[in-house]
């Protein structure tokens, strides 16, 4: 495993340049460039704030940053799962020419997604400063720790979906449907407390995508550490998915090219 990691490191220029190409391609095509992906989240937040803020009677100073962080998080996670799923399929021409560690291709996807996520988070941070002032600033480094954990979680999910998509042709379609459902089962546009008040909080507890969100959002919005159960849940899920991802790579790394 050490040799494998070193090989990935040796080829860092390769995957970094692929990430760079991905980002360039994405932004070259639109006049607003980087601004476009930000604008999307901001517009969505304005609409949601007006509609659901009124509906749920929520304070906009809390609700707007709340949604911004939630959307940024979901954007990252769904990119990892959905684009990760096609990452090996798209890499077929490389894989049939050069023997490089397969883990590089999901990494490419996750690094690109991380870039967008970072920018979206910065917007969310600015919005929080604007609406709430700097009172929770000290707790923000905790969010960065959460980011690292989420990165590993995202990469593990991307590896797992990428491999399953090679073995079963309908996985990426199923995942799309699944992620749409999961979006509503994750407290992105509604606060968890509203579900708990009505006794259906378990929906979120059994949702593996809700832990990392809380880990990232709570320090920014409330200036406190997340509950121990949240931290343990996020760490546990990350470790578990990483173990599965590593086992998958270890067992299938060489054979996967025969299935493409």
């Amino acid at each position: 495993m050490k040799a494998y990691t070193l090989e990935i490191w040796r080829l860092r220029y390769f995957w970094l340049s692929l990430v760079k190409i991905d980002l360039n391609t994405r932004y070259r095509r639109s006049a607003l460039g980087l601004g476009w992906s930000l604008l999307q989240n901001i517009l969505m937040t304005i609409v949601l704030s007006v509609v659901f803020g009124t509906l749920f009677q929520l304070d906009i100073a809390f609700y707007a940053p709340f949604i911004l962080i939630g959307l940024a998080y979901w954007g990252f996670l769904s990119s990892c799962v959905l684009m990760g799923a096609t990452s090996l399929y798209n890499a077929e021409p490389y894989m049939k020419q050069h023997k490089v560690p397969v883990a590089i291709y999901p990494l490419r996807t996750v690094l690109g997604a991380s870039f967008h996520f970072s920018i979206a988070l910065v917007v969310a941070f600015v919005a929080t400063l604007f609406f709430q002032g700097p009172e929770h600033l000290l707790a923000w480094p905790v969010t960065l720790m959460g980011f690292l954990l989420l990165f590993l979680f995202g990469w593990s999910l991307a590896v797992l979906t990428a491999f399953s998509n090679v073995y079963f042709p309908d996985v990426s379609h199923l995942l799309e449907v699944g992620m749409q459902i999961a979006f509503y089962a994750t407290p992105i546009i509604y606060p968890l407390s509203m579900l708990e008040a009505r006794g259906v909080g378990f929906l979120v507890t059994i949702n593996p995508f809700s832990y990392h969100l809380e880990l990232i959002r709570k320090p920014v919005l409330e200036g406190t550490l997340p509950d121990v159960t949240i931290i343990l849940g996020a760490v546990g899920l990350t470790v578990l998915s990483a173990i599965f991802a590593i086992i998958t790579l270890w067992k299938r790394e060489d054979q996967i090219v025969l299935e493409l």
Binding site: L18, T25, R28, Q97, H98, K99, P169, V257, L258, E259
Partner: protein
Amino acid sequence: MTSLSLQKANLTFTVRKQGRLPLKEMVVSYLQGKHKYPKPIQVHALKGIDLELKEGDRLGILGHNGSGKSVLLRMLAGIYPPTAGKREAQGRIVSLFDIGLGFEMEATGWENITYRSYVMGMTPADVAEKREEIAEFTELKDALDLPIRCYSPGMLIRLAFAISTAVEPEILLVDEILSVGDIGFQKKAHERMLEMMDRAKIMVMVSHDLGAIQDVCNRAIWMNRGNIHAQGDCKTLIEQYSEAMKPAEPAPAPSEPEATSTEDSTAAAA
């Protein structure tokens, strides 16, 4: 010490006639208690190959289409793992096959030069050094600033060839790319190719151009139906092979007599 070897290497592909089975179908039919999936076909592409290559070896691989030449080359490159048996390699491998694939179509010619150099293990310092030389060899000039989706197939293959031949190989694996581009470029490419083969410590080439093999190789193997049918000195083997590939005459040597080889040999000679 550069070396490359296969010991009793086998490769079996699993081919499903109806394509892959969707996960949904599999789960549903499992729940219904049916387990009748279309049986996959096993293709035994390489059968117990033993091969030992040392420094100085220039191996030519002969055989008609579908005999396992390209698969063998990919296994030597480490891309296809042996499903049974062993492969050992010492030295930096550079492979020249499917070079037209694996481009980022939205990126410019320059960007593609950079990242394709990186995938072959170059560092930014190496790339800075080789970039201009690669660009010059392609003769594409200003077109290198364009996204390569605008390139013609000929331009693309020039780019691919220039990049792939810019590295210093210890082990060089070649699949039939001795002619690329227009006539002027072909000559240039041919020379560059020969130089590169010269520098490599071990070279393996698959080609239907028997003359080319005879020019650059000192050893040869003859593949038939996933087996090494015969091997030895390049000149002798090519004579035997050409003899066997002559039309009219029945294919003499294949150990398993079968109708297809006669058909194939006729087709190859036609």
